[in-house]
Amino acid sequence: MPLLTVTDLRTHFHTRNGVYRAVDGVSFHVERGETLGVVGESGSGKSVTCYTIMGLVPQPPGRIESGSVVFDGVDLLRCSPKVARSVRGKRVSMIFQDPMTSLNPYLRISEQVIEPLLIHGNVSRKDALGRALAMMEAVGINDAAHRIHFYPHEFSGGMRQRVMIAMALITRPELLIADEPTTALDVTVQAQILELIRRLQHELGMAVIYVTHDLGVVAGLCDRVQVMYAGRIVERADAHALFRSPLHPYTRALQRSIPSLQPKGRELFTIPGLPPDVSKLLPGCAFAPRCGFADDACNGAVPELAEAAPGHSHACIRMRAGEIDRDA
């Protein structure tokens, strides 16, 4: 049985300007110990998916319209709050994009790192501090015994993200959700953090959902990758297949827009138009208005994600009908 199974998840936001379908029918699973990459542009629903799993969607305006999030046999959306709390923050933890705003500036690092242990771990403060210290060392903070008593502002961005990781991992979770943890950091620090996540994952044997917009990060880190567009998954495959033979036109376009893969001096390939407004979704494929392969059939119905090869699914009706050259 997979560690996490998300089925037909729909998280909508009801605002004065209409209903924003941030996540609109997403299903996926995560096996124990594996790394799943979630790629998409801003507004594609990748963060809201994570927030829904963690129960962090503010309701209202958010509303979980349908679906289930089953973690190790427990449906987190339907179980009692007490049961959900015993899973979230203990067996599933999350690290956020912005290490500058996700730590409490009024509390010492030590207080913040041991908080999950005091809530979930049933340990004394002294033992908790000992484990916090070991964790701080594990995430590569030098002189941890001294610096654990610092306040967040005394740390640099990379160090704060390490503190966030230490805080997330101190309960030894089985699943770590990392929502763009390196986007706000420099490339050199990003390399350090990725290395760290890889190492700790190996040591603790946890599964990771890694959300990013950077295809480069996904290539090095993830076993499987799913690409999101307008609140839906448009393609899912193992990392090698996704980079070698992307099938959905959006994945292909995304890959072609990476500057380092394009000859210098030439115009960069761009996806025409803008990402769709998720409050005014079209009856058909959300990517059709920007897609070079779209025809009338694409505007008919929302295409379902279906398997094209073992472990490789996509949601493009023209690709499935064989109307698009697979190697083009």
Binding site: E41, S42, N142, S156, G157, G158, M159, D186, V187, T188, V189, Q190, A191, Q192, L194, E195, H213, D214, L215, G216, V217, V218, A219, G220, A239, H240, F243, A253, L254, Q255, S257, I258, P259, S260, L261, Q262, K264, G265, E267, L268, F269, T270, I271, L274, P275
Partner: protein, 336 residues
């Protein structure tokens, strides 16, 4: 661009001579004493030719943005000279400075913060035209429409406010505003970092198109080396207030010489699983040191895998290494 024929006598439109920008640190409540200085920019010598795109890269805190603001004279240089078209901005009078500002414009990183939310696009684009008396009230409308067309926005959007636009469109407005005075040089501080990949490419295409068409020099500041490699003619790598490597963009990024540039290049994730998993990465330890008291000698030596005792002794100067390339490392010839 590489395939273009060489231009007749490339003229240096902007020159920086040993520019230093330090921020004093004061201690004491009643009697303030200066106890030190943040050496944000610490001895930068650089020249930009007409129509050239110069990429400026480095980690956050290395002084890229301070250098940009120093070039625009938004922060006056502590010492050294910023020379625009033969005129030293530090010694220019207010009127002269105002005239110089026409030639020198800036595009900021965050298109959400750099546009006034209470001004329509038209008001924003008309303001510099009227302030500098480029055109009278009657001709403003025509020029605003033209600017919007240049950056790929329909003139009918002129009555809208910034919040009605997406990030990419806002950055187009910011670029149009910078172009309003027909500058000779634009300083763009991380203009695409806040944008999505697909929108990034559109803005990059627009910038390089404008540079070619209008013969505009561009100082392009970014931390994304692959973007810089694509758009720039030359690239300068900064570390702790100093330039450590300078040369043609492709050359520097494909064959870096300075150990810091090597580490920076090796940290970029490659969007290919096989290459990415096979390659050896130089992972730098720790964070860049504080610019308040930089390490003695080469500022990079505490993190450098090739550092030896001699690196602590003196600050290495930028020395030529190969065709139109310079690097600041005393061990260049000894490195593998």
């Amino acid at each position: 661009m590489p395939d273009e024929p060489p231009r007749a006598v490339p003229e240096n439109i902007l020159e920086l001579r040993d520019v230093r920008t330090h921020f004093p640190i004061h201690r004491g409540f009643l009697v303030k004493r200066q106890t030190g200085a943040v050496r944000a920019v610490d001895g930068v010598t650089l020249s930009v030719r007409q129509g050239e795109v110069l990429g400026l890269v480095g980690e956050s805190g290395c002084g890229k943005s301070t250098l940009a603001r120093t070039i625009l004279h938004l922060i006056p240089a502590t010492s050294g000279a910023v020379i625009l078209n033969g005129r030293n901005l530090g010694q220019a009078s207010r009127t002269q400075l105002l005239a110089c500002r026409r030639d020198l414009q800036m595009v900021f990183q965050d298109p959400y913060a750099s546009l006034n939310p209470r001004m329509t696009v038209r008001a924003m684009l008309a303001e510099p035209l009227l302030a500098h008396r480029i055109c009278g009230k009657k001709d403003v409308q025509g020029r605003v429409d033209e600017l919007m067309r240049i950056v790929g926005l329909a003139p009918r959007f002129a009555r809208k406010y910034p919040h009605e636009f997406s990030g990419g469109q806002r950055q187009r407005i910011a670029i149009a505003r910078a172009l309003a005075l027909r500058p000779k040089i634009i300083v763009a501080d991380e203009p695409v970092s806040a944008l999505d990949v697909s929108i990034q490419a559109q803005i990059l295409n627009l910038l390089s198109h404008l540079c070619r068409e209008m013969h505009l020099a561009l100082i392009f500041i970014a931390h994304d080396l692959s973007v810089v490699r694509h758009i720039s003619d030359r690239v300068a790598v900064m570390y702790l207030g100093k330039i450590v490597e300078l040369g043609p963009a492709e050359d520097v990024i494909d064959r870096p010489r300075h150990p810091y540039t090597r580490a920076l290049v090796s940290a970029i994730p490659v969007p290919d699983p096989e290459v990415e998993r096979a390659r050896q990465r130089i992972v730098l330890q720790g964070d860049p040191p504080s610019p308040i008291n930089p390490p003695p000698g080469c500022a990079f030596h505490p993190r450098c895998p090739y550092a030896i005792a001699r690196c602590r002794e003196a600050v290495p100067p930028l020395v030529p290494c190969g065709p139109s390339r310079e690097a600041a490392c005393i061990r260049l010839d000894e490195l593998p």
